[in-house]
């Protein structure tokens, strides 16, 4: 079976640049707009799409992504609709890896087996479930791997060398390094320290290491992209959506363009990352 992650990272290695990983909340601000944004992302320069599954109690997220989830839920988004969104995207894009990101409870209530079947049918490549550490691998990680879906683990500044092997053990696709101890959308960490951490993780795994939490600008994407195999941007994209909405929180004719403009700039950032590093 072709693994979209392997194909992508092999191609990017040839191009000599890191991946741009973009996060959007499924159904924010409404299903149709969210699907239009998703479809526009690859063209704008996104290499991997993280599709957020809204949850009422996102304990690891800052205000921007909390509000995005609230808008999506208010607009009637459910896990079934998020899967439907991915499936609709796959009809026209068979290459861009899709990672579903969220919290365990909606998946648990949907039913793990049914979820994995439907995720496969929708062309999902990977899962990031924030509140499932390796200690809980039996819940979803192992069944997902058996179903052929990658389980992408978060490694954090608190994950020391002793713990890293356990965190990496069942990880596939890529490793997501969280640049700081904190919630999404906080201020950017010291980029030098992030680079060291990325290289430390690379000492333990052949998997690509992508870095997220706190990357907001093209310049930050360029700096992080020197060491990382991918740069994840979430809050800044969600914020661009918010800034384009009308007074009632509805989408406008500017909403999709607001995202593609931002992503275009970020894409230029990651494409410049290794140019300077090579100098």
């Amino acid at each position: 079976m072709t693994n979209r992650f392997d194909t992508l990272f092999a191609r990017l290695a040839d191009e000599g640049r890191p991946a741009l990983v973009t996060y959007i909340m499924g159904g924010d601000p409404d299903y149709d707009t969210s699907l239009s944004i998703m479809k526009a992302l690859p063209e704008a320069g996104a290499d991997i799409i993280e599709l957020g599954m809204p949850f009422s109690d996102p304990m690891a997220d800052g205000p921007a992504i909390q509000m995005a989830g609230q808008r999506a839920l208010k607009g009637g988004q459910t896990l079934a609709r998020t899967l439907a969104m991915a499936k609709a995207f796959r009809k026209t894009d068979t290459d861009t890896p899709i990672v579903l990101m969220g919290y365990y409870n909606p998946v648990y209530i949907y039913g793990v087996d049914r979820f994995l079947d439907d995720a496969n049918a929708a062309g999902i490549d990977g899962l990031i479930i924030v509140d499932l550490p390796p200690e809980m691998d039996g819940e979803l990680c192992i069944p997902a791997l058996e179903a052929g879906i990658s389980f992408i683990r978060l490694a954090t500044p608190t994950t020391d060398d002793k713990r890293l092997p356990a965190v990496l053990a069942n990880t596939s696709g890529f490793v997501y390094y969280v640049s700081m101890t904190g919630i999404t959308g906080s201020a950017i960490a010291d980029t030098g320290a992030v680079g060291e951490a990325v290289n430390r993780i690379k000492g333990h795994t052949p998997l690509p290491v992508c870095v997220g939490f706190g990357v907001k600008t093209a310049e930050q994407a360029r700096l992080i992209g020197r060491d990382a195999d991918g740069v994840v941007v979430g809050t800044a994209i969600v914020q661009a959506i918010v800034n384009s909405l009308d007074g009632d929180g509805g989408s406008t004719s500017d909403t999709v363009a607001a995202v593609t403009t931002l992503v275009g700039g970020l894409a230029a950032g990651v494409r410049a990352a290794r140019l300077e590093a090579a100098e």
Binding site: M59, A60, T78, V167, G182
Partner: protein, 406 residues
Amino acid sequence: MNKPPEPNSFRTGPDEQGMFGIFGGRFVAETLMPLILDLQDKWNQAKTDPEFQAELQHLNTHYTGRPSPIYFAERLTEHLGGAKIYFKRDELNHTGSHKINNCLGQILLAKRMGKTRIIAETGAGQHGVASATVAARFGFPCHVYMGATDIDRQAPNVFRMKLLGAEVTPVTAGNGTLKDAMNEALRDWVTNVESTYYIIGTAAGPHPYPEMVREFQSVIGKEAREQLLEIEGRLPDMLVAAVGGGSNAIGLFHPFLDDRNVQMVGVEAGGKGLDTDEHCASLTAGSPGVLHGNRTYLLQDGDGQIEEGHSISAGLDYPGIGPEHSYLKDTGRVDYVPIMDTEALEAFQLLSKIEGIIPALEPSHALAEVIKRAPKMRKDQIIVMNLCGRGDKDVFAVGKRLGFEM
């Protein structure tokens, strides 16, 4: 729900993974996992360390005022005309509720772990006050997260926390109640994980919290057992306690769980009725799910989104429940029943008039169940109810509800 097999003992949980049957566990972000494992180590050392136990016992005796009395409510018993009713009077503790039992234990652990800052969530404010109290006693800065709705209805406790030197942050997300305060405390914790100890106020959250909080609260049940054996020469027929997150209830129940003749009743907040959206009866009307680090019964919709609870009592206003209660429900060892806001209000007033004790709204729920059950029991039977908090904090809210201008 599939009923788990009846175990030889109900007192052996949790297992090494922190599970009580299918409930409990460690559903937290990776950032917190190393800390959770460190906490587990320190807790495992502390629980068998005589020095730790001696220090805790000394504080319980001289700071909290333990043992709390067990009190025969003679006039209430006469009024109801059935079983003899005893109150375990944890409302007489320093700070006015059972919450201090847990906070003292946890702050000693925080000290052992070398942490320098305390955070806590609070609903009614009792846990916030108890956390602020122990933080003041041990010289830690303390930050309490409290839902904006709860800040309005529990103003006296907000001022108490500030007097004790704590910073109180209002949480406006969601309905601005306990669940939202807990989310915000978790966000703080994940951000300040190196310096900060999170004192969770109830027997819920990721392992080892449910076990740890239960052990600190079990002093209630251990004392009650000894005290009743001394007075009556036998064990009670029934234990009754209110359950929000369930720490006072598990504290009373746990030492009796293997005394199969002792019946146990946990009383949930039925709010405005289980046929409405406005209640907090997660065990009676919820289903198993994962929230705040553990799998347990939750109020949630078909998509796994957590629903907001409602109760007149801020301390019971939580859509989840400690995982051990979920296990005790499914095994059938404990009965869980709802009590409505109006029933709790009546019980609140009755106890004030008939025994001269103003109870908190939380144990008023337990009392309302006692009022239903005692008359149906024989006069030689005994009920022990956990009177886990005093009502001073509630007089303004109840006064308003009863139309009294203050």
